[in-house]
Symmetry: C2
Subunit: 140 residues, 2 copies
DNA sequence: GTACATGCAAAGGGTTTGCAAACGG
DNA sequence: CCGTTTGCAAACCCTTTGCATGTAC
């Protein structure tokens, strides 16, 4: 029922080169919203002949086909994750760790806000930047 | 009661060069969240000897002193506005026009969401990407 | 076989920085 | 004055692209 990233590639009829298979594996195994450089490094561990330009091109291809979602968190270069259910992100500003959460009430509210302003909502971004409570007093 | 950007600079004791005065004027007169290039162009109309590096440096200075807020909307280079009350943005994805709105209920909810996840909220980003309703059917 | 994907290196945006000259307090 | 700020151009980072070569289907 739940297609893997590789399944989705096949359904789209994408030509599956060795490099793409490796990148698909890396992305499927990642849960940490890696950036392009991280994907490249992880891919290079499997097959060191993969160029970073290929990683960029492949990621863009997947993004254009709605297989990957791009995030541009404050202070980071673009980070990616496989598309899944709608959710938002909390970024630990100390470690860069990303956690996910859902909030359907807020989702509905934003649609309404846009409507009241005379717009139809296409997309929206909700990101929380925070520090772990237990460490808060060591803040600086 | 409400300090202007220039007042704030003076209170901070910033050295007010001719260039900085011009940039302050441009920023104070802007309501459209300009990017660095736009600020530079507008500044150049007043005094054409202002270099873009100076604009970058001045904007960074103001940002570091909490006089300016930086936004990185999807698909745009960084855009700035003078700091004011807390508010969020709706970006017209066709024209790039930015509108503002407030939603204190959502603000409170996000603080709570972070808390439930074991974090203290430092900052958050809420951006709506939308198209005007009257134009919606001409979408493409 | 052929159109498409790759690696490399060069080019591209947007932004920063080193330097000598100019300037503000 | 003297440390700060400036303009210029070079450097920077991340990303894209042109080209000759390699490869999936």
């Amino acid at each position: 029922m739940m297609d893997t990233l590789l399944d989705k590639c096949n359904k789209l009829g994408l030509k599956m080169t060795e490099q793409r298979k490796v990148i698909v594996k890396v992305l499927s195994d990642s849960t940490d919203h890696p950036d392009v450089e991280s994907v490249h490094k992880r891919a290079a561990k499997i097959d060191k002949r993969i160029g970073i330009a290929t990683v960029y091109r492949t990621i863009k291809l997947f993004e254009d086909n709605n297989l990957l979602e791009k995030h541009e968190f404050k202070g980071y270069s673009s980070r990616y994750e496989t598309v899944r259910e709608n959710h938002h992100h909390l970024i630990d500003v100390r470690s860069g760790k990303v956690s996910e959460f859902r909030n359907t009430l807020v989702d509905a509210m934003q649609k309404q806000v846009a409507k009241e302003m005379g717009y139809k909502l296409i997309d929206y971004r909700l990101e929380l930047y925070a520090v772990p409570i237990e460490n808060e007093r060591t803040k600086k």
